[in-house]
């Protein structure tokens, strides 16, 4: 004979990641590190922006480069002579706090005051996975189409800074960069939005200032 039982579980599957994200943040703060994570689609310009920040600031930077195969981006960043850890997500579409925790363990934390995390190119899945960073920068390029912002509201709602990149190409691809600015403002009324063209040197200074300002206010 069997009996039937109703067992209360009440387990939040998202909580495991959030707890690890909190642990990462505490680890950063205990080591005097300000952490920024970059999200954006494939080819939006995340790696180029990180390279430009390394070359144009005096921070002691460490980088965690996440990708389905991370050696390509990690190799680019390594050339700038900063400590970098590549995190392979393999089949997964996002970094999670657990992977980041492992990556952090391989960095010389005492020598770092700005940790940059580059997420996998994806505007959807990273929404569900906080990493423990102090600032999330979403990079979107006009070449992705000027409806990209309104199609991905939640990633923009969670952004601390939105970079609309490759504005020099807007006309060539028939995209309206100002529409993207308006869409981001509608989704996240208080977010800072910067139009940039890294190739033309537009916007980089403003982005660096925005990071410095957020770092000051933590």
């Amino acid at each position: 004979m069997h009996k039937v039982a109703d067992i209360e579980v009440q387990k939040n599957i998202m909580d495991a990641n959030r707890k690890l994200a909190d642990r990462n943040k505490k680890n950063f703060e205990d080591n005097g590190i300000f952490c920024v994570d970059f999200v954006g689609a494939i080819g939006s310009g995340k790696t180029s922006l990180i390279e430009d920040i390394i070359e144009n600031t005096d921070y002691n930077i460490g980088v965690i480069a996440g990708d389905v195969i991370s050696e390509f981006d990690a190799g680019r960043i390594e050339k700038h002579d900063v400590p970098v850890v590549g995190l392979n997500t393999g089949k997964e579409c996002h970094l999670d706090a657990h992977l980041v925790g492992h990556g952090v363990g391989d960095l010389p934390l005492d020598d770092i005051d700005l940790l940059i995390i580059e997420n996998v190119g994806n505007l959807i899945c990273p929404v569900d996975f906080e990493l423990g960073s102090h600032m999330r920068i979403v990079v979107v390029s006009v070449t992705e189409g000027d409806d990209t912002v309104e199609k991905h509201p939640l990633i923009f709602k969670g952004a601390d800074l939105v970079v609309i990149n490759k504005v020099d190409l807007a006309e060539a691809v028939g995209a309206d960069a100002n529409k993207m600015v308006d869409d981001a403002k509608r989704l996240n009324p208080d977010v800072k939005i910067i139009k940039s063209s890294l190739k033309e040197g537009i916007g980089l200074e403003e982005i660096i200032d925005a990071i410095a300002e957020k770092k000051e206010n933590i």
Binding site: V9, I13, M14, A16, D190
Partner: protein
């Protein structure tokens, strides 16, 4: 495609709970998915059905309840269910239903929770 890792987390939780309670079979699994979680309930259900194969939850009925988004509005003080402009699970613009403010704080609707399971257990004797 992180439905798979979420589904695996759900199944691990279900099987662990069932085992810890001395169950021999899982009959029903109740799950709540928030409307702001980037999870498609249909895909999640499909993957759960695959993952339960050859486990004690193989024949379990899986029930996924979608949970609305709740907010608080600093403008008018409203607290409760938000207006979503779009019935599409993935693209809601969230606004206060009272004053249409978009500067709101999200209180709930981002989670994926295993609520409870119905299991069969052998009689004590």
């Amino acid at each position: 495609m992180h439905e798979l890792s979420m589904a695996q987390g759900i199944i691990n939780t279900v099987l662990e709970t069932a085992e810890n309670n001395g169950a021999t079979e899982v009959n029903k699994i109740y799950i709540e998915v928030g409307k702001l979680a980037m999870l498609n309930p249909e895909q999640l259900k499909f993957l759960l059905d695959v993952l339960v194969e050859n486990t004690m939850a193989e024949n379990a009925k899986i029930d996924i309840l979608e949970v609305p988004v709740t907010i608080s509005c600093p403008e008018c003080g409203y607290e409760g269910v938000a207006n979503l402009d779009d019935s599409d699970h993935y693209a809601p613009i969230i606004e206060c239903p009272k004053c249409e403010n978009l500067r709101i704080s999200i209180l709930g609707g981002r989670d994926c929770i295993v609520k409870n399971i119905i299991v069969e257990k052998p009689d004590e004797e």
